[in-house]
Amino acid sequence: MFIARSKRILSITVAALLLSVAAVSAQDAEYVDECLAAPAAEAVEAAPAPDNSDISFTIILPNPRGDRSFIDSAAAGAERAIAELGVTGTIVETSGVQEHDAAIRRAVQDSPDLIITIAVDFSTIEEIADEFPDQMFAAQETFFPAEPDFDNLALFNIFTHENSYLAGIAAGMLTRTGIVGSVGGGDFPGINLFIVGFEEGVLSVCPECELLRSYVGDFSDPVTGKEQALSLYAQGADILYQVAGRSGEGVLDAAAETGNLAIGVDSNQDDLYPGNILVSAMKRVDNAVFTFVERIVNGTYEPGVTNVGMAEGFAGLSWDLGVCSRTFDEAGPEDLVEMLPEVRMAIAEARAAILAGDIVVTNVLLEPAQ
């Protein structure tokens, strides 16, 4: 009882402090919603697609479509490339790891100009790239322990620790209980990249916040994802960050069911449960796929590793320019919506500091995990 009361007093003080800070900052820098300031929609007429139908690519998706997240984002990029660049594209879904190898080998038989793989294990890629030196490959989300040396393989990694940090700021500022959790698809660096960045973001604005974590161990199991989310909410968390592919759908569902908040991942998931999804930490896999195809069309394909992140516009928040999701403003709880301009201000400042190098977010893929 005493603790609860002291917590409340504390939170009131913090809120008061924040308000005064906001008032002060409001004087010298009024938060400008770039989305409102930006010209309404691109009025530019989409140019008719050039005819590049003699250029072909095949994209291998690691799981079936329909996760409304990572996989769908990759497929959307491929579809955009087909539509805008006028190339011939084949989108191939696989049902899991055991089919990746066979699907890529089958794709090689058609000898397209480029085969794009998404989140396929590096040993599979390594073996196939070695076996078919005349076939060009581009791999998104494949992490090699040592930089590979193939003339026919381009690797593209999107680092998402920085935008996760920004999502963490939003969560840290808007949590009512002071407990924030993450639900990951599995306990390995590719996922912890998101979670560690997010947790650092939370702690940067709310040092006393308690952090919870759980791992589903599967990327296509929404039922378990939901169970774990419900359990985290029951432990007092009120905002959960899901990094679990289709399993994460369960987390979003649990947020809507319990009236708590969740943060979406990879795609813009804000509209799936309006008002229950605070923001989405987007990873523009679609842009990565599009870039691959664009390079083949322009003849600028280059083997080797490309690392991109927030600075290059491949990672960001759904609130940002380009997506400008304002679903939470319309459907979210009023007391939190009132705080949004302040949150966005803090995020804009943090973004500038990250890009300037003043804030360094841990990248667990490059540094030892915590």
Partner: protein, 424 residues
């Protein structure tokens, strides 16, 4: 004449079953807004045809362009430009034949064991571990610090011994894993169907745990074990002796297919030509009668379970040693064991039947997965396969209808009582 008629009779029924399956699934194909004929041509071309196959005709003869631009008609199964699908089928049926044999042996002792999946993954994880641990030990004992610099003689010896030990170990593990439910059945009368289902679940979870924790090689996105040593690797033809033959390109078919075929011959000999095999088949026919006749039915059943488990374990070992070279998380749920059960049932447990059904199912699976390369949704492939399997399972019904329709040979007794028609 009689032989011709019988062959025609035996062949016509599967063909009719396939056609019925295609007709039935047309409804779903049409619902998906694609032309059924195009879909089926695509399905069979992707499964059985050569590269560039577009129509049913291309399955047999295909016109290909020579280097000088002239056209030439070639016999499709031998056309290997860009790799042959037949080679891919050979890769796929290697474990499939073994798990199907495994199921057939158990069924023919009256044990309805469907534990092939569990035995398969247990055999696979055994060699995935031994495949690198054993060479490591040998190098250490031989005092070789750098395996690359090991003396040639040692390497040659290891190339012979290590795979042999790995395969034997996998067979032993599979056999034990199958013997336990068999023992439960014989001593405690526990239903084999239920106990093997549970044993499958245990094996899949156990392998999932092992791959994710103790045997995990690195912290990559997808958990996997260390790659097996090159001395344990059964090098596929396309990397070894037939590296220049384009027909094999991309398909990892290797010595395993011969091991599988040898197993077919041995199992046939065991079941049909040995006392033990006879005892086992008697046990299935009528357990009480067999026991009254002095046949140790319990022993016969347990022996069948041991052989069945060893065959499935061997299948798992060949999948790792010849194809995968490591186990990646998700391998355990791929369900090769269940495919084997399906093949055994469709083949009516006939050994020769398995040799015909396994390539057919493997080709259909291949075709169904690759329908997408023709912009046809992959789910349709699953529906078509399911219908074909459903109608294939209605063989007796179709046979009865046909007989009634044509009154071919009213005097002749149709099919053996235990349904070994396909074997004849």
């Amino acid at each position: 004449m009689k032989f011709l008629r019988r062959t025609f009779d035996n062949l016509s029924i599967p063909v009719i079953a396939v056609l019925l399956g295609l007709v039935a699934s047309s409804l779903f194909v049409a619902l998906a807004n694609v032309s059924p004929i195009d879909t089926y041509q695509r399905l069979f071309c992707e499964g059985f045809g050569p590269r560039g196959c577009e129509t049913f005709g291309d399955l047999v003869f295909i016109e290909v362009e020579n280097e000088d631009g002239s056209l030439q008609t070639v016999f499709s199964p031998l056309y290997g430009s860009g790799g042959s699908r037949i080679a891919l089928i050979l890769e796929q049926i290697t474990p499939l034949i073994l798990t199907a044999l495994s199921a057939a042996v158990a069924f023919q002792a009256g044990m309805f064991s469907i534990g092939m999946d569990g035995q398969f993954v247990m055999g696979a994880i055994t060699v995935a571990f031994l495949g690198y641990a054993l060479p490591d030990q040998i190098y250490m004992l031989a005092g070789v610090s750098d395996p690359e610099a090991a003396p040639e003689a040692l390497k040659t010896a290891m190339h012979l011994i290590v795979p042999l030990i790995c395969l034997s170990a996998a067979m032993a593990v599979g056999a034990i894993y199958s013997w336990i439910p068999g023992y439960f059945k014989v001593k405690l009368n526990v239903n084999v169907l239920i106990s093997t289902i549970i044993f499958n679940a245990i094996a899949v979870q156990l392998v999932g745990y092992l791959v994710n924790y103790p045997l995990r090689s690195d912290l990559n996105n997808i958990a996997r074990t260390r790659r097996i040593d090159d001395t344990a690797w059964l090098i596929p033809f396309n990397r070894g002796i037939f590296a220049d033959v384009e027909w094999f390109s991309g398909a990892r078919v290797g010595i395993g297919i011969f091991i599988a075929l040898a197993a077919v011959a041995l199992v046939w000999f065991y079941l049909r030509r040995t006392t033990a095999g006879y005892e086992q088949r008697m046990t299935r026919g009528s357990s009480l009668f067999a026991r009254f006749g002095g046949i140790p039915t319990d022993r016969a059943a347990l022996r069948a379970m041991l052989i069945s488990g060893a065959l499935s374990g061997l299948a798992g070992a060949l999948a790792v040693l010849g194809v995968e070279r490591r186990i990646v998380d998700g391998f355990a749920t791929s369900g090769v064991g269940f495919e084997g059960v399906l093949v055994a049932i469709l083949a009516k447990e006939s050994i020769i039947g398995i040799l015909l059904v396994a390539p057919f199912i493997a080709g259909l699976n291949l075709g169904a997965t690759n329908l997408q390369f023709g912009d046809i949704p992959r789910q349709l492939g699953g529906i078509i396969i399911s219908f074909i399997i459903l109608f294939s399972a209605m063989e007796d019904f179709i046979r009865a209808r046909l007989t009634a329709l044509f009154k071919w040979r009213p005097t002749r007794q149709r099919s053996a009582p235990d349904g070994e028609g396909a074997a004849a």
